[in-house]
């Protein structure tokens, strides 16, 4: 069953075509890694899925709901799709406990106690129970990103979108975040991940999408992609980032 479907999605900023005719789909429980050179439109693509980036043409459905339809209740849809950002975007004026509880209370209308309990359980899952009373600014980047993942999970999402979750992190903190994501993938979460971490892709991805200049150049099974990418552009990209 297809959880996320993109059909012929295009978007321009003035004269610049950020996305051009992108089509793909993500099934329930599938982990799809999106990679490509910077400026290839991968971050834009992932943000169109929960409607943070409007599109000019084509259509996107998430769990059967058309994202760009004017009658769609976007907040309702977004509440079901978790998103993790490059720069974490925790709320700096709230402590970790409140960061985890806020949307549960205001959006899902959960009772405060339930929300706090759920937050505490997820904080434990990402190994940060000791930091519940701290503010985001008191945590390291890796810790903040783990909290951000927990915050998204607290909404009981049907799928998770990751927009370069490790690219703002110092190298020594990347693994602690990837570990949480690997565990999440193994638990069967439907995930779409924009990342350059090919190790992560090899380990847990089912499929890899390669983008360049706003187009989906390659959309292949993981083994096929790493074994022998069909397109020359993907080959070049892989040789550049796998060489070291």
């Amino acid at each position: 069953m297809s959880m996320i479907t993109l059909r012929d999605v295009s978007k321009t900023y003035g004269d610049f075509r950020v996305l051009s005719g992108c089509s793909t789909s993500v099934s329930k429980g599938e982990v799809v890694v999106v990679c490509g050179p910077s400026g290839s439109g991968k971050s834009t693509l992932i943000k169109t899925i929960n409607g943070l980036e409007p599109i000019d043409s084509g259509n996107i459905t998430v769990d059967g709901t058309a994202v760009s339809s004017p009658t769609t209740n976007l907040p309702l849809l977004r509440a079901k799709v978790g998103m993790v950002f490059q720069h974490f975007e925790l709320f700096p004026h709230l402590n970790i406990r409140e960061n985890l509880a806020l949307a549960q209370i205001k959006v899902l209308k959960r009772p405060r106690d339930t929300a706090l309990e759920k937050g505490a359980a997820l904080l434990e899952r990402v190994g940060l129970s000791a930091h519940a009373e701290k503010f985001p600014g008191q945590l390291s980047g890796g810790q903040q990103q783990r909290v951000a993942i927990a915050r998204a999970l607290a909404m009981d999402p049907i799928a998770m979108l990751f927009d370069e979750p490790t690219s703002a992190l110092d190298p020594e903190m990347i693994n602690e975040v990837l570990d949480v994501m690997v565990e999440l993938a193994r638990d069967g979460m439907t995930m779409m991940v924009v990342t350059h971490e090919m190790g992560f892709a090899r380990k847990v991805a089912n499929r890899v999408i390669f983008m360049d200049r706003g187009e989906i150049v390659e959309d292949a099974d993981k083994n096929e992609f790493f074994g022998k990418p069909r397109s020359e552009r993907a080959q070049q990209f892989l040789s550049k980032i796998l060489v070291h």
Binding site: K47, V81, F85
Partner: protein, 230 residues
């Protein structure tokens, strides 16, 4: 020069100066700050909105009021509003407006423009990712504003808001044009009555100076305590 300086005049005038004058000044400052903050935040939200009509109305209002001298607005309100009220209510004679409430409304409308610009720059200074993150969690624009954006914007801007309040405290002395007995008005009345202009105006300046100085020192201390750790 100070040999003729009559401290006794000041001492005798203290109850009147503070109980009547300063009470009025502080009450007006308090009401206008609260009113100006509420209205100013509303204007800031309107001005930051994607809705062209809303932001246009708020922008026009702010630019209009900021282009007028405060004294003129005070005058205008006090002398013209009774006629406006008469016209609106269809009453037979101009509706009398209490000078205190007239000043509160004038200062609220005027200060709201300054608070609006402060709050707006607070909103603009926040990374766009904060709004995106709130949206991604399913919050409506209103929820994002109330729970994520405004708390941060107001906290970041608190020192500026308080500094503007200190300026407002000084500006309230302009109500003298309505012959209201605020602190300066009270000092002026004693000065005229006793023929002690030097003593009263020096003392009034001293009091404004001390209060403003203490308040701005307090703001500096507060600034360190409320800053959001990033």
């Amino acid at each position: 020069m100070l040999s003729g300086f009559d401290f006794q005049t000041i001492v005798n005038a203290l109850p009147y100066l503070f109980l009547t004058g300063m009470t009025f000044t502080l009450t007006l400052t308090l009401f206008a700050t609260i009113g100006g903050m509420i209205f100013g935040t509303l204007l800031a939200v309107m001005r930051s909105s994607d809705n062209r009509i809303l932001s246009g109305i708020a922008g026009g209002y702010v630019n209009l009021l900021r282009s007028l001298p405060l004294v003129l607005v005070i005058f205008w309100f006090y002398f013209l509003v009774p006629f406006l009220a008469q016209w609106l209510t269809g009453s037979s004679s101009p509706v009398r407006v209490d000078p205190f409430w007239s000043s509160v409304i004038t200062f609220t409308l005027f200060e709201a423009c300054y608070f609006c610009e402060i709050v707006r720059s607070g909103i603009q200074s926040l990374p766009r990712g904060q709004t995106l993150a709130a949206s991604a969690l399913g919050m409506t624009d209103r929820q994002a504003l109330i729970y994520v954006i405004l708390p941060q914007a107001l906290r970041n801007m608190l020192p500026l808001i308080l500094t503007q309040t200190i300026i407002l405290f000084q500006d309230t002395s302009l109500v003298y044009v309505l012959s209201i007995t605020d602190f300066l008005g009270a000092a002026a009345k004693i000065a005229q009555r006793d023929g002690r202009l030097l003593e009263m105006y020096v003392f009034a300046a001293f009091v404004y100076f001390v209060i403003s100085l203490i308040a701005s020192q307090a703001v500096k201390r507060l600034q360190k305590r409320v800053a959001i750790i990033r």
